[in-house]
């Protein structure tokens, strides 16, 4: 017992010492680094898995990390200046920034949505709420983000769906947020086929939802869902795989990727 009591503080201090909370390739000359680390320590339960996103300027790096579906932190650091963190979610946003003397300031921002829903303007969309509900089923499936403006995401839609269904997985199509539903329907008709809503005599969309739900998910956006189409995400056992397939793979390639990723979602 005495030994355990002696060891425990060592374990905790070792963990604290190893957790830097900072991205590996962050600029070395940022101001208020200690304050930043301390604040990140209060936002994250462990060292975040940062993914770098495009530099917003020649001297400003941006990194993203999340611990909960739909809740992301974007860290922006400028050489020689204090950093800033944006909390991004559908419902609310917060900006944390530090002054030159490293005093923390907090500012409330509006939530992040591609479409503001209102009674007058209801847009059928796929939100983080939908994503959470999907994950809570503990089923295995793929989310296929497509756009009528990227032709292969249309022409390969049915092939990918067939493969996914053949393996017994769910297939959830999500439409590029910037495309119109009419544009999507036209492209589908011209290039792919026609998506139909579920009725007894017709093939049912496994997502159980309208086939033209537009992307309105912070989670998918922050995972770069809109840089190219299609982008394919995989989920299983209540988790969304951190990686994604960008572009078109044929059956064999997609099958291999899905098998590998499923193995990683334990």
């Amino acid at each position: 017992m005495k030994i355990l009591i002696a060891i425990l503080p060592l374990i905790f201090s070792a963990q604290a010492a190893t957790a830097s909370y900072l991205p590996e390739d962050i600029y070395k000359n940022i101001k208020c680094q200690k304050e930043l680390q301390s604040h990140l320590g209060s936002l994250f339960s462990k060292d975040p898995k940062w993914e770098r996103t495009v530099d917003t300027s020649f001297d400003t790096q941006a990194f993203r990390a999340s611990e909960k579906i739909g809740e992301w932190y974007e860290l922006r650091v400028t050489e020689g200046k204090p950093p800033a963190i944006n909390f991004v979610s559908t419902k609310k946003g917060t900006e944390y920034s530090w002054s030159e003397s490293c005093a923390l300031a907090t500012k409330t921002l509006s939530g992040f949505e591609f479409f503001k829903q209102s009674k007058k303007n209801l847009i059928d969309n796929f939100s983080d709420e939908d994503l959470v509900q999907t994950l809570q089923t503990n089923k295995t499936g793929v989310i296929y983000v497509w756009s009528p403006r990227m032709v292969y995401s249309v022409t390969e839609f049915f092939r990918v769906r067939a493969l996914v269904q053949k393996k017994g997985y769910e297939f959830i199509p999500v439409l590029d947020h910037s495309a119109t539903v009419q544009e999507a329907k036209d492209a589908m008709k011209t290039l792919g086929g026609e998506l139909k809503l579920h009725v007894a005599s017709l093939q049912r969309e496994p997502s159980s939802v309208g086939p033209y739900k537009k992307l309105n998910s912070v989670e998918l956006y922050m995972r770069n869902s809109s840089l190219h189409f299609p982008v394919i995400y995989m989920y299983s056992k209540g988790q969304l795989h951190p990686r994604r397939i960008v572009g078109v793979l044929t059956d064999k390639g997609l099958d291999l990727a899905m098998t590998e990723w499923l193995g990683e979602l334990k």
Partner: protein, 392 residues
């Protein structure tokens, strides 16, 4: 004396004019048939827009209901003095591509090579010069430097493909490349006289990069390519640049942009510098999604934002660069939230981008080779050189 004064005055005025900077951002609207809405009410911006080295032409697919699938867009000066972008129709299938670097040929997806001049003058009636190179799925091509009429080398790079039995199945597996040799005949037509490949590539870096890549794009001189490995050992989703090995099979990783991007498209390597890449990527600004065109300087290892935040611009994901360094891309733009949307091309002077100007102020040592701007004279020179190559 009078004539001498006049002569000097002319020289002076020419000198002053030639030193004139091009606009920081120039917006060229579509004109003619390209402005007609499709049956769904939307005007087609087109896809896979590829920019010629002089910025005069853009080859695009999915050109809308009123035009052929692939059109060659020309940026020209209208009688009213304003620039516009007009369409020439082609008989090509979607995803036709140019031979980058020279734009000596435009290539249909079956490998048929056409002259730009023939498309402009004959449009759909243009006749192919020869057929060759890898065919199909997102192929990109580049002419290697140092060509002569007797020997023009063109390297094609394909999207991942796989051999299934005797067939090449497009869409999965390793990247492949093929080089064809072309010569100009006495009657000014062109013929293919040799080819090497296709070669399956990058097995030598399988351990670190995996075997499957997406978004491949060849450099304008055909010596490099950019691609996003799907299963790299480091599990990082990032666009990377690779060199073609001398054996046409091996690959050497030469750069990692460290971020996920749309296709990374090469500019031209000049003055001993590495070829920059331009790409569309997104971030968030004030908790709103913000996409824009960026340029990655591979010598400085820095990314510059070259979009125009003064306007509401929705940029296409296929930007390109001219020989003089202009960044050109398709876009939809509005002058204000309530203003009507215009479609066309944006021409940006990299050196006049706000981000670049700030960099020059803060890092004069690193920016010592940066110009103040691209001048009209530089553009005219590139246009004149390219006009000789087009033959009109």
């Amino acid at each position: 004396m009078k004539s001498a004064l006049c002569f000097f005055a002319i020289l002076c005025s020419v000198g002053a004019a030639s030193a004139k900077c091009i606009p920081a951002n120039e917006y060229i609207p579509f004109v003619g048939k390209a402005t007609k809405p499709n049956s769904n009410g939307m005007i087609a911006l087109g896809m896979y827009s590829r920019i010629s080295p002089d910025g005069r032409f853009v080859l695009r697919s999915f050109s809308g209901d009123h035009l052929s699938a692939v059109t060659l867009m020309e940026i020209f000066k209208q009688p009213n003095g304003q620039k516009g972008a007009r369409a020439y129709e082609t008989d090509f299938d979607n995803e036709a591509f140019p031979v980058q670097g020279s734009w000596r040929f435009l290539v249909d997806i079956d490998g048929s090579h056409y002259l730009v001049k023939d498309i402009v003058t004959l449009q759909k009636d243009a006749r192919k010069q020869f057929r060759g190179g890898i065919t199909g799925f997102y192929t990109a091509a580049a002419e290697k430097p140092g060509a002569s009429d007797q020997s023009i080398q063109i390297r094609t790079l394909s999207w991942p493909s796989e051999r299934v039995g005797d067939q090449l199945e497009q869409g999965v597996g390793q990247l492949t490349n093929e080089t064809i040799y072309v010569r100009k005949n006495p009657d000014k037509s062109y013929s293919k006289y040799d080819s090497f490949g296709p070669y399956y590539m990058c097995s030598n870096i399988q351990k670190t990069e995996g075997m499957t890549y997406s978004l491949p794009m060849i450099s304008t001189d055909g010596t490099e390519f950019s691609a996003l490995p799907q299963n790299p050992a480091d599990r990082k989703v990032s666009m990377r640049v690779y060199k073609f090995g001398a054996d046409n099979k091996s690959c050497e990783k030469s750069d990692d942009l460290n971020v996920a991007t749309s296709k990374a498209i090469f500019g031209i390597a000049q003055n001993g510098k590495k070829a920059p890449v331009v790409f569309l990527s997104g971030s968030t600004v004030d908790n709103r999604p913000a996409y824009g065109i960026h340029l990655y300087d591979r010598d400085l290892k820095r990314t510059f934002f070259v979009g125009d935040r003064a306007k509401r611009v929705s940029a296409d994901s296929f930007p390109g660069m001219t020989k003089d360094g202009r960044v050109v891309y398709g876009a939809r733009w509005r002058d204000c939230e309530a203003c009507p949307e215009t479609l066309g091309y944006v021409i940006t002077d990299f050196y006049q981008a706000e981000d670049v100007k700030r960099f020059k102020e803060q890092h004069p040592d690193q920016a010592k080779n940066f110009k103040q701007c691209i001048t009209e004279e530089e553009v005219a020179k590139v246009e004149a050189e390219q006009s000789v190559l087009y033959g009109f």
